[in-house]
């Protein structure tokens, strides 16, 4: 049972939780895999890990490698943290990154939108000056933070190789210089 201390929390993947076990084992290998429906008339990839296909209800799937790059679709920026270990990291960003893979499929508003915190290239929580550089439209790539055997957390960092928008959309009011 993968289990580890992470930012003051005990993260646990239960032995019966087959989908999350596989998802986080891939993350621990620093690879991003998602489930792909094997129904030949469907074949869609899904997130988060689940026990059936949201489009065709099929229960059979394969884990497939997915290019872990995309664009910030929206975000939250926490200034008043609740969990104690997050307080010293505030302000921190919660990013929803829309993957390039399967964007606008099967309908124009659907996409794989994968959550994570904003971190620097080394996987450390972003400092305030980096937070200010990221907004809707920023191009991101995934990095992993190791937690335990079989468990790493996927996060997002600015994609150094991508063309970044000149000014990604940020919340219009910057309070107290943050």
């Amino acid at each position: 049972m993968p289990q580890g201390e992470y930012l003051g929390m005990t993260l646990t993947v239960l032995d019966l939780d087959n989908e999350n076990l596989a998802y986080f084992q891939h993350c621990a290998d620093h690879e991003f895999h998602l489930q792909q429906c094997v129904n030949p008339e469907c074949g869609l990839i899904r997130y988060p890990p689940g026990t059936a296909c949201p489009w065709c209800s099929g229960r059979e799937f394969n884990w497939v490698p997915v290019d872990a790059r995309g664009t910030v679709h929206s975000y939250g920026e926490v200034h008043h943290a609740i969990q104690p270990a997050f307080r010293e990291r505030a302000p921190y960003m919660i990013l929803l990154v829309e993957l390039d893979t399967q964007s606008g499929v099967p309908t124009e508003h659907e996409a794989l939108r994968v959550a994570g915190n904003l971190v620097d290239a080394d996987g450390n929580f972003a400092k305030p000056d980096l937070v200010k550089q990221v907004g809707i439209g920023s191009r991101m790539r995934m990095v992993f933070t190791d937690v335990a055997d079989g468990l790493a957390m996927p996060h997002w960092t600015l994609d150094e190789e991508a063309d970044q928008p000149e000014s990604p959309w940020r919340y219009p009011q910057e309070v107290n210089g943050v």
Binding site: Y6, L7, M9, T10, L11, T12, V13, L14, D17, N20, F24, R46, Y47, P48, P54, H73, S74, Y75, G76, E77, V78, H79, H80, A81, I82, Q83, P84, F86, R89, Y92, I94, L96, H109, E110, A111, L112, R113, A115, G116, N117, I136, M153, W169, Y171, P172, Q173, V175, N176, V178
Partner: protein, 420 residues
């Protein structure tokens, strides 16, 4: 799917049930009693309001997040023998859903008259935001994709929805702040409100940032309180003290696709109201243009705005204009949350907004206006602060109200009532 429902058929029970009693405790911080004590206090007040004895109540329902006391305890304390009870998990948007289920239980012959209550020490015991007892819960399963990212409290969870609305439609912090400004005006005329102080747009946007785009004053108050409603069929409803508030339609816990991670299905700035409107207006046989007073759940300023927009009170994307236009102010075309709501009166997971609309329909809102010799309110319709000669919060000639209950962007409930 809903387009095939013929809501003119008798089975939809339009106008056949009513709320006959309402009760609440004080809205406070530090109740000094258990949720059992608070719950019996609110239910007793609802019984006194209706003039109904314990012997004529035989059903009880409640909801909580393991922070309340179950129905059998309260019923026992109050001498109510139950033919039916059901205590469910849930927070916001449960009130309207349980009213619908109470109607179903009565219709099925399981009982005749049902109390629905919510009792919570939301400040002094279990705080909604996950502070206190809830902050140290081990993280596993689905929470590995949310709480592990410090994405935990309601405000944190909802923020990507709110931010995307600003991005998509140019909604400004100042527009949304008007929700708090207007609700604070209403609360100033409410002797029960926890926060009675009127605030300005500047007060809201200059208050400290909690989680963008939410300043402190964009967030609701946390309080200790209990609230109760009594529901029965129309053939009995007129046997009691007050004019019944008749139920025209109800929708309960209507969901967007995949609410555990609803962001997969956009537009993410669309909320459950988009789906609810097709059910509730068909069930009630009317449309948003017929609603004279709304109770749009204000866990945050943004939640009122997003719901009003997706139910069709304005065009999609124009919620910022709607909430800042003055329409939803007392004296405006369609006042919202005339008690001050969750932002100002107290936090009850939606119950107090239903209670307020029942009072509006009776014409008996408990404001600062004088009472005549018969105990009836003599409303002045002067909505200025009490110190300025105002103090009223009764909407004139209101006959149809709607509650817009919110659990999260992906889930909501609704209730439409008319004057009995």
């Amino acid at each position: 799917m809903t387009t095939d429902i013929d809501t003119t058929a008798d089975k939809y029970l339009r106008d056949k049930y009513a709320i006959i009693g309402i009760g609440e405790t004080t809205y406070t911080r530090g109740s000094g009693m258990t949720t059992r004590g608070l719950g019996t206090w609110a239910i007793k007040n609802a019984m006194d309001d209706a003039g109904i004895p314990a012997s004529e109540i035989d059903g009880m329902m409640s909801y909580s997040g393991n922070d309340s006391t179950a129905s059998p305890m309260l019923a026992g304390d109050l001498g109510i023998r139950l033919n039916f009870y059901m205590d469910v998990q849930g927070g916001g948007s449960s009130s309207e859903a349980l009213i619908g289920l109470a109607i179903g239980a009565i219709e099925a012959g399981m009982c005749e008259t049902v109390v629905v209550f919510r009792s919570m020490n939301g400040y002094s015991q279990v705080r909604i935001g996950g502070t206190g007892a809830r902050a140290s819960v081990p993280v596993g399963g689905d929470a590995l994709h949310s709480a592990a990212y410090g994405w935990f409290s309601a405000g944190q969870n909802f923020s990507p929805t709110f931010m995307r609305h600003m991005y998509d439609y140019g909604t400004t912090p100042e527009q949304v702040a008007m929700v708090k400004v207007i609700h604070s005006e209403h609360a100033s005329n409410n002797p029960k409100a926890y926060y009675k102080q009127r605030v300005t747009v500047e007060d809201v946007v200059n208050s400290r940032m909690i989680c963008k785009p939410l300043h402190l004053l964009d967030c609701c108050v946390e309080t200790d309180n209990a609230t109760a409603l009594i529901i029965t069929s129309v053939d009995k409803a007129y046997d009691y003290k007050n004019t019944p508030a008749r139920i025209l339609g109800v929708a309960g816990r209507v969901c967007k696709p995949r609410i555990d991670m609803h962001f997969q299905h956009g537009p993410i700035s669309t909320v459950a109201g988009y789906y609810i409107k097709d059910l509730i207006y068909r069930n009630a046989g009317l449309g948003p243009e017929d609603i004279q007073c709304t109770g749009a759940y204000d866990a945050f300023t943004f939640t009122s705005m997003l719901q009003l927009e997706d139910y069709g009170f304005c065009e999609k994307g124009e919620g910022g204009d709607y909430v800042s236009s003055g329409i939803m102010r007392l004296g405006g075309e369609r006042p919202n949350n005339t008690s001050g709501g969750h932002l100002c009166e107290g936090y009850t997971h939606g119950m107090n907004m239903i209670i307020e609309n029942v009072r509006q329909l009776r014409g008996e809102v408990d404001d600062y206006c004088p009472t005549d010799a018969n105990g009836s309110k003599q409303h002045t319709f002067n909505y200025a602060e009490p110190s300025q000669g105002g103090g009223c919060r009764q909407v004139p000639d209101v006959t149809i109200t709607q509650n817009l209950g919110w659990a999260m962007p992906g889930t909501g409930s609704s209730l439409i009532m008319r004057q009995g």
